[in-house]
């Protein structure tokens, strides 16, 4: 196993550890707002994981996937926040 493989595996393991901490907050969170914060942060972490996978395997379409994931995560967070505010989605 080359040093580069060790490095990339280490980095992805650290990112997955961060995502697991977010999952802890999602399961534990006393209120629904805490869970939404966890979901938001986990979305951004997955964007980073996708982009890193893209350069490890030299697959450039994964960067497109990362951009779309960032977009969808943003829209989903806004929609959840509006739901939390008990409003309609049109403002």
């Amino acid at each position: 196993m080359s040093g580069f493989a060790v490095y990339t595996i280490g980095i992805v393991v650290v990112l997955v550890l961060a995502a697991v901490l977010c999952l802890f907050r999602i399961f534990r969170g006393p209120t629904i707002a805490d869970r939404m914060v966890g979901v938001d942060i986990m979305g951004i972490l997955f964007v980073g994981i996708t982009a890193l996978t893209g350069i490890i395997y030299k697959l450039d379409f994964l960067l497109d996937v990362a951009i779309v994931l960032a977009l969808i995560s943003f829209v989903a967070t806004i929609a959840l926040a509006k739901y939390l505010e008990r409003r309609t989605l049109d403002d």
Binding site: G3, L15, L21, R28, L63, I78, A81
Partner: protein, 149 residues
């Protein structure tokens, strides 16, 4: 102080070490991978903050800042490693997009939480927003048992 010749020497040494370890890397690659590693560490710090800090707003604050800079660091590292190819350019577009949208999500979530009625931690000093808009500060009075302080 570090001057440019010693920096070059450090970079050469790093390249030789990398070559011994079976990697075929240039100086720019090494800088890029170091930037990526720093970004990943900031991501981890943000996640730890998400677990340790006491209420929604503090968690949102630490997590948003750290994770945004961490992911931006990953993207900048990818740009440094790949150069201005299609991968690098898409990575930096993704990073700038995150930099613009992550604060907006944090803002929407915090306002939503306040309107929803999520109480602030008992050690909170002042709540101007609750006083002005919601009829009284939204600060909890006694500590709950399952708070991770």
């Amino acid at each position: 102080m570090i001057d440019s010749t010693s920096l070059t020497a450090i970079a050469d040494t790093a390249t030789q070490v990398a070559a011994i370890a079976g990697m075929n890397l240039s100086t720019l690659d090494i800088i890029g991978y170091i930037v990526i590693a720093v970004g990943v560490l900031f991501d981890l710090l943000g996640a730890i903050g998400l677990v340790r800090l006491p209420d929604v707003y503090n968690r949102l604050q630490s997590a948003t800042k750290s994770v945004t800079l961490g992911t931006l660091g990953i993207m900048i590292g990818i740009l440094i490693v790949e150069g201005f190819t299609s991968i690098g350019i898409k990575a930096i577009i993704c990073g700038v997009f995150l930099l613009l949208t992550a604060p907006v999500s944090a803002h929407a979530l915090s306002r939503g939480s306040l309107r929803f009625g999520a109480k602030m931690w008992k050690g909170t000093v002042i709540d101007s927003y609750g006083k002005d808009k919601l009829g009284g500060p939204q600060i909890e009075t006694k500590e709950k048992k399952d708070e991770v302080a």
